[in-house]
């Protein structure tokens, strides 16, 4: 049940979600992998929307060249652990939300334990090896996985439902060669908001998710488009997964 403060705090969205929907958000436990550009935005909007518990995982320290896009960190945070700084801000935004932080580098060996009892995974990583670990964990736990990635003015997002949609490995059988990509801060703003929107819709059960659709944001051209996707039985990560 929602308390009086919550009924007031969420008044403008209760008209959309109803008390039942808002209660679902309050019960939800969301795993956010990464506290960088996408992580700052998804964590912020999921916090103000009233998600019950966020578990944020990162192991980085705030650097000056993070500040053009990682909006949870400000000048005075340089040199601090990102998680400490992020948790402090998120708790000040909404004390009703439980923010858990885990300082770890995500890989195949620890991801299942890190996700633990969370029911949804948000991809806010900056590399494909970690994303593949998230993908595998989401598939094995059969929980939704909200992918996002950015480059310059361009971004992409899709929602992966294990057993129903293509998985990340179907779309990208092989990751790209890695190097720090150029990023304009507004791009993780756009893509992170799309990911957070998908999370809210999934939990409340509203609208159409980005299932089997890779949304492509072209900030330079000022347009969105989508790539149709299909599950692939040849995929080494989800090819054997029973249809759900």
């Amino acid at each position: 049940m929602l308390n009086e403060d919550e009924l007031t705090r969420y008044k403008r969205q209760l008209a959309i979600f109803g008390e039942e929907g808002q209660a679902k958000l309050k019960k939800a436990r969301v795993f956010i992998a990464g506290a960088g550009g996408l992580g700052s935005v998804t964590a912020t909007y999921l916090t103000v929307a009233g998600i019950g518990k966020l578990r944020v995982v990162d192991n980085d320290v705030v650097a000056l060249d993070n500040l053009n896009r990682q909006i949870l960190y400000w000048d005075g945070d340089i040199g601090r652990e990102k998680l400490k700084s992020a948790a402090e801000k998120l708790r000040r935004m909404n004390a009703e939300v439980t923010v858990e932080t885990v300082s770890e580098r995500i890989d195949h060996s620890n991801i299942d334990d890190l996700v633990s009892d969370c029911g949804l995974i948000v991809d806010a990583m900056d590399n494909f090896p970690a994303r593949y670990a998230l993908n595998r964990s989401a598939l094995s736990k059969r929980i939704p996985f909200f992918h996002g990635a950015v480059h310059g003015f361009y971004g992409q997002a899709t929602t992966i439902i294990p057993g129903k949609t293509s998985c990340l490995r179907c779309i990208f059988p092989e990751g790209p060669a890695t190097a720090a990509p150029p990023v304009v801060g507004v791009t993780p703003g756009v893509i992170g908001c799309i990911q957070a929107t998908e999370v809210l819709k999934y939990i409340v059960g509203m609208g159409q998710l980005l299932e089997n659709r890779l949304l492509m944001w072209d900030g330079l051209g000022g347009r969105m488009d989508e790539v149709p996707l299909q599950r692939n039985s040849e995929c080494k990560d989800c090819g054997d997964l029973e249809v759900g």
């Binding site: 990635a149 480059h151 059988p173 092989e174 990751g175 790209p176 993780p188 488009d225 692939n232 040849e234």
Partner: protein
């Protein structure tokens, strides 16, 4: 047969259009499509590596499936196919 190619992100800039319809012979493959799309060595160098394989940073989906999980460059095309070309983004 005719297939439609949609270009995204850097490929939209590279080819200067968001989509293109290409006329190909029947039984054409992805390789034939790229030959038709590429009118210069520079273009081929951007799409293929030294061994003639498509570069790992060139993502191509035929009807929603990555060609690497089909028959790569030998993947056969059909009339009316939609091919999507985009670079992988990995920043967060």
């Amino acid at each position: 047969m005719r297939v439609k190619v949609k270009f995204f992100a850097a490929f939209r800039e590279r080819f200067g259009v968001s989509e293109k319809e290409i006329e190909l012979n029947s039984k054409a493959s992805v390789r034939d499509l790229l030959d038709a799309l590429c009118d210069s060595n520079k273009c081929r160098q951007e799409l293929f590596d030294d061994t003639g394989r498509i570069k790992r940073d060139v993502k191509m989906l035929r009807k929603g499936k990555h060609i690497q999980l089909l028959d790569e460059l030998d993947s056969e095309l059909e009339d009316g196919d939609l091919i999507s070309m985009f670079p992988p983004m990995f920043g967060g």
